[in-house]
Amino acid sequence: MNRKVIVVGGGLAGLMSTIQLAERGQKVDLFSLVPCKRSHSVCAQGGINAAVNTKGEGDSTWEHFDDTIYGGDFLANQPPVKAMIEAAPKIIYLMDRMGVTFNRTPEGFLDVRRLGGAKYSRTVFAGATTGQQLIYALDEQVRRYEDAGLVQRYEEWEFLSLVLDNEGRCRGITVQSLTSLEIEAFAADAVILATGGPGMIFGRSTNSTINTGFAAASAFMQGATYANGEFIQIHPSAIPGRDKLRLMSESIRGEGGRVWVYKDGKPWYFLEEWYPAYGNMVPRDIATRAIFKVCVDLKLGIGGENKVYLDISHLDPHEIDRKLAGVVDIYEKFVGDDPRKVPMQTFPAVHYSMGGLWVDYDQMTNIPGLFAAGECEYQYHGANRLGGNSLVAAIYAGMVAGPKALEYVKGLAKSHSDLPVGLFDEAKAKEEAKKTAIFALQGKENPYRLHQELGNWMLENVTIVRYNDRLRKTDEKIQELMERYQNIGVGSGAAWGNQVVPFTRRLWGMLTLARVITLGALRRDESRGAHYKPDFPERDDENWLKTTKAEYSANDILFSYEPVDISYIKPRKRRYDVAKEVTMQNEQ
């Protein structure tokens, strides 16, 4: 039978899915907004987690699993997380064989460092550009399969919508060339979405500009369930820019960086004081809230602003160059100071989405034949992600999605080539009509300014600290923006190479997902991981140890909740002022 699988996304998750399929002889069409090598995964600095235990600290996959579940405040389904953690060391060895230039110990083994929420050094890294090195290695393997005729790449093509057959199965996609703006429909027997995170919904974040979440939003509007949208990670340390908030990796603290502000004229290392067991290595949600408290409640931020010092000036400059050069360069380039000499000034920024498309343990969404992998799905991080766990989750999800998609395809009674062409013509015609409608928008609103307004509201009201009245107002605002959207003016530019029209389409997706995030947060009356409400400061397992599931129905968003599989580790109170062992004893 003539089989075809489509992968949308050329980041870590999409490339690994593609490799898995090609390795099994399956032909793949691979789509990406940008040449795969320029995908957002290049930004990852700190490293990738696996309990390789090359420092004799006695780390184990069980410890890594427990840290991940505990760090995620028990919201993740445990079986897939356990499987991922157990696969992690093998993933590192594989990436090493593919030529990733991981840092080495003096004897030539894989070097490891510590990231937040862990007591062990289990983060493997390639300088401070780990994501770049990982994606290049996978891109090279895909190029090899391209050379062998198994993979056809479509770079600078944008996924627009799913093609669903009359049984509700996913049978292909519509796409648009970002050069000519022409629209095409591609048929397939299964589709894997690996389209990354939605950081741009918050205007500026640590994310790349293509991270609008449009692909996930589009699938959502066609019936895919979106899970745990309200869980958005705010990273404690970034530097401000008008175009982007640039991340200052957690690995800076992992290598000995200390966070402080002046109090009574002296440096005050508040993380070390408040969390003696973990110090500067507390997880991100904890560090971010502590910084918020210091800057907003205690008004001790640098110069009265929401900024704190992140200090590595006491470290050996040679070691900094070997292990942190990538980030230190960014700081020097954009701020102008040398962190080897002067403490850096950083502040929290939107960084990562724990939520995403709902998938089962085979990475399949609720739409048969539609799979999802990587940051665009929700499976591996619960209510808060540990540093270094996302790279491994993206690669692992690709390792599952590829083979599972193939298994699914093999079980199909009909091939995509047996379907009526009308199905694809119709899908294409629908997108053509949408395109025409966007070109016809000639009102007064500028889409980029509308986007900025959305970002400002989301940033103000749906990040570190959340209040129900403000969440309600934000949702009203988003709906107002959706009305004003109809009055956008896209200008008179021709179709060729036009960037305003595709951006305007993405903006609708961002607005839709912004509602999913905001309404999910409004409903969840508790505090868990990255989701914090001062009016409901405690975790409430009785009512909220549940996955949020959002569905789209006739322009409305419906919510339902699903119990979490906690079959391995019983939920216990999460605290970082004491060692984890103490929290376990308290439970007994």
Partner: protein, 252 residues
């Protein structure tokens, strides 16, 4: 320049709606902010596409993605020099800031060019490691810190095209693959597993458009934003291909 804080930034942008059209220059003025980069200036134009004469302009097309100089997308000519628009700060430039697309690649629109040829070149030189498969084979080879450090320098290449842009031997009449792909051959050949396919890559470099077309102008190494020792790679591979050529001749 005076010590007063400027209120505006003047940009002169080379515009061209498509490859068949004739290019023209259009001036824009955008608000100034301390430490702003060229990307932020371009973003201001997106939000207010009005040119310096107060006429509404078609929005400027330009590429960007990571905004922290690791993806390579926003490479363009800034005041005549090849640079990334994200890491180029306005304060360091004389005004009006002249922005033009890379000249060695085919134009799409305004500042956007098509750099697919660089990926095709990576394919030509087989810039990948031939692993048996992705199944579990246990730990990879032991590698010394020294070898890792040298390889890491080369692995930072973001295929931005700066080195091709400044190379006199990369032009419409030549098929020269350029320095970036050559350095990737050195990277792959220096890996213990990659070394097993060393000869195939050297053969590729000895073909048309290969290393022999380097004229040793040494512009590439100066233009590389990641300070990759491109000329060192070229020199090493020059020797290696000579040896390979001799072997080929002896084994005829």
């Amino acid at each position: 320049m005076s010590n007063e804080t400027p209120k505006e930034v003047a940009l002169l942008i080379k515009r061209c709606p498509n490859p068949q059209a004739t290019a023209y220059w259009e001036e824009f003025k955008v608000p100034y902010y301390p430490k702003m980069n060229v990307v932020s200036a371009l973003m201001e134009i997106q939000k207010n596409p009005i040119n310096a004469r107060g006429e509404s302009a078609t929005p400027v097309a330009w590429d960007c993605n990571c905004l922290e100089e690791v993806c390579g997308a926003c490479t363009m000519l800034i005041n005549g020099r090849v640079r990334q628009a994200c890491s180029t700060l306005v304060d360091m430039l004389s005004q009006p800031i002249r922005l033009a697309p890379l000249s060695k690649f085919s134009l799409v629109r305004d500042l956007v060019v098509d750099r697919q040829v660089m990926f095709t070149n990576l394919r030509k030189v087989k810039a990948w490691i031939e692993i048996d498969g992705t199944y579990d084979m246990g730990p990879g080879p032991n590698i010394s810190q020294k070898v890792q450090e040298q390889a890491y320098e080369l692995s930072k290449c973001m295929t931005c095209g700066s080195c091709l842009e400044v190379c006199p031997n990369v032009n419409s009449k030549s098929k020269f693959i350029g320095p970036a792909a050559i350095a990737q051959v050195e990277l792959m050949n220096s890996h213990p597993i990659g070394a097993q396919q060393k000869e195939a890559r050297l053969q590729a470099l000895m073909g048309e458009g290969g290393i022999a077309e380097c004229g040793n102008a040494q512009n590439c190494v100066k233009a590389c934003p990641k300070n990759i020792p491109l000329t060192r790679s070229i020199a090493r591979l020059n020797r290696a291909t000579t040896v390979q050529g001799l072997k080929n001749w002896l084994n005829r």
